[in-house]
Symmetry: C2
Subunit: 387 residues, 2 copies
Amino acid sequence: MTRRPWNFSAGPSALPQQVLQTAAEQMQDWQGTGVSVLEMSHRGNAFMQIFEQAQIDLRRLLDLPQDYAILFGTGGAIGQNAIVPMNLMGKKAQADYIVSGSWSEKSAQQAGCYGDVRILASSGKVLEQDGKQYPAWAWFPGIADADDWQVRPDSAYLHFCSNETIGGVEFADWAALADRITAQSVGGADVPLVVDASSNILSRPLDIARTGLVYAGAQKNAGAAGLTLIIIRRDLLGRALPVCPFGFDYTKMEQAQSMYNTPPTYAIYIAGLVFRWLLEQGGVEAMEQRNRAKSRLLYNFIDQSGFYVNRVHAGFRSRMNIPFQLTADADGSLSKRFVQQAEQAGLLELKGHRSAGGMRASLYNALPLQAVQALVDFMQEFEKRYG
Amino acid sequence: MTRRPWNFSAGPSALPQQVLQTAAEQMQDWQGTGVSVLEMSHRGNAFMQIFEQAQIDLRRLLDLPQDYAILFGTGGAIGQNAIVPMNLMGKKAQADYIVSGSWSEKSAQQAGCYGDVRILASSGKVLEQDGKQYPAWAWFPGIADADDWQVRPDSAYLHFCSNETIGGVEFADWAALADRITAQSVGGADVPLVVDASSNILSRPLDIARTGLVYAGAQKNAGAAGLTLIIIRRDLLGRALPVCPFGFDYTKMEQAQSMYNTPPTYAIYIAGLVFRWLLEQGGVEAMEQRNRAKSRLLYNFIDQSGFYVNRVHAGFRSRMNIPFQLTADADGSLSKRFVQQAEQAGLLELKGHRSAGGMRASLYNALPLQAVQALVDFMQEFEKRYG
C-alpha cells in the first residue's frame, strides 16, 4: 500500500493510527515488563494499572458524576438487550421502548422475554406526518410532536437507541427526552432512561447524568469488539431477576469491579489507548466539532446532488453513520459498482447494510475529515461517469 | 529486560513468542490490506478468511467429528455456567453435577437457578478414603470406586470440570466417565456429558466425541481473554429455555455462524494464530508429550522435597496448574518471600489463588520445559536458603 486506505466500516471500525502504533510497539513487551498485555493476569499489578487508568480516563471523557459506576462487560449490545431487562425490570415487570430502527426493535423484542414491554412509538407506527409517508428508517420526524408517547409511570425504565447504526438515525438530546418524561410523570414517578449508545458514545457530549443506564459495544468509538461499556446510576443496582446470570448481574459486576469473571483484558487495553488519544485530541467536545464538520461535508454534498440521496429526516440524521442511495439504480448494479470502484480507490466498507441496500459511510472519531473529502471527491467522479 | 521472563499466570497466560511477533508485525497492516485486524468489519472478506481458517484449524486440532459445531462466544466459563443450563435443561428441567473444586462448585450453584440440580459427588463429600482425610482440593480419589454416583437417567446432562485451575485437579479420561454413565443408564437413557475444559483444552488429546458439549475460556491455551470456545453436538441444539438471551442461544449462534452478534474479532484472530502454532508444533499429541515432561519435572522435584508439597491425589494431579505449599510457613510470610524473589528472578505470577494460598505454577502450552527447569532451579536455591 502506498497509503493507508480509509475505512468506513460500521463496526468494528477504524482506529487512530497512533493507537495501532502503540499497540504494535507494546505487543511483545508492555513498558519493560517483558510481557504482552495479552498475557497479563487480570489481577496483576501491570494490568490493574491499565484497567484503572482506562476507567479514570473514561470517567473524565464522559464527565461522569460519582453516582454512576462504569462496568466493563462482554456480549455487546445484543447481549445487553437481555441483560438490561434481567437487571432492571425488577418487581415492576414492565418497561417502555421506543423503536427507531432495527437495533431498538431487537431490544424491544428481546425485553419481552422478561416482562411486559410496550412500544410507545416506532418508526413503523409514526410513518405518517403532515400527510407524507416516511420510509421505515426515517425516525419519528419531530419527536416533540409525538404526543401519543405515554410513558407508563410504573415502568421500570424507558429504553431507546441514541444512534441507529443501520438506519443512520440519531437522537442526541437526551435531556429533552428526560424533560418530557418528567413533564408527563404522574405524581413525580421516576422512569429512568436506558440508552443504547453503541454508535454515538464518545462522539459528542451526551447528557448521561439524565439517564439511568447507558451501554455501548466498544467496537465503534471505543476500540475493539468484545468489550461492552456499561454506565449505571448506582441506585439502579440490586434489582436483578433470579434468572439473571451471575456474571451479567450488574450488582455482582460492580462489587467485583468488573472482575466477577475474567474481563476482556486486551479489548480494555485498546479502549484505554483510545480514551487517552481522545483526551489528547481535546475530548468529546473536540470530537463533536470534527464530527459535525465531517458529516456536514457529506450531507451537503449528497443534498446538492440529484444522483445521491439520504432520506433521513434532517433533525435526526446521524453524524456517525450516513446511509445513502443512488436515485436511479433499480437493480442495485450501479451501487455494487460504486462499492467496488470505491474499494479500488482505497475507500473501504462502503456497502450498505444487507437489510438496507445502497451505501453507508460510517464516520467514527478515528476517521479524519480528509477521508470524508476523499469520499466526496470519489462520489463526484463517480457521478460524472455514471450520472 | 535481558531476556523475556517466564510467565506462570493461570490465565490470561503466556502466549507463544511467535504468535506475539506475528501480531506485532500485522498490527498496523494485515497482509497488505492496510487495515489492522482490530479495525476489520466482522463480515468483510479479510476477517472471514481469518475466521474460517481458525475454525478449520481448531476442528483439525481437536479431531472434531462433523456432527459437532464450533461456536465462538463471549462471557467466559462463568457466563457458560448460566448459558449451559439455559440452553440444555430443556423440558427435563434437571441436571447432575460433579463438584471437584471451586469452578465446578460455581457451575452447580448457578445451574440451580434454571432447574433441579443434584450434586452427585463433591470434593467435600468424598473426603474420606481408606480412613484418610483429604483436603478439599484433593478430588475424589479413585473415581472408579465412587459407587454412590447415581446419574439420574432423566437428567438433561452431567456436568463436570476437567481441570480445576485453582485446585490443580484434572480428570482427562472422559471416555471412562461416558462408559460409566452408559453402564449405569436405565433403559439406554442418554445423559450427555458437559465439560468445562477451560484450562486443559488443547493441552492433550481429549475425547470430545464422547461428550455432548465442551466449553472453554480461551485465555489459557487458546489465546486472549474475551473469547469462549463452545463445542456442541448438533442434536443438543434447539432446547433453549425462553429466558435464554438470544445472543447466547446456541441454536441462534449456530444458525448465524457465531455472528448473531459482533464476535470478539481480535481474540478470534489471536486464537487462530495459536491454533496455527499448535499445528506447526505437532498438534495436541505433541503438546501432551511436552506437558507430561514439564509437569513431571515439577511434581518429581516437589515430591522428593520435604520443603515443598502438593497434596492432590496422584491420579488427579493437573498437568496444567500445579499448586504447591511450603511445608512450614505458618504465617505465609515465607510464601510471600518466595513469590517476590521468584519475580525478581524473572519467574512471574507464582502466587497461589487467594482462596488457596501458597504458590501455583501454570504450565500451559506456550511455556517451554526450559521455564519449568528455571523454576525448579529457583526452588532448589530457595530451599537451600530457607529450608
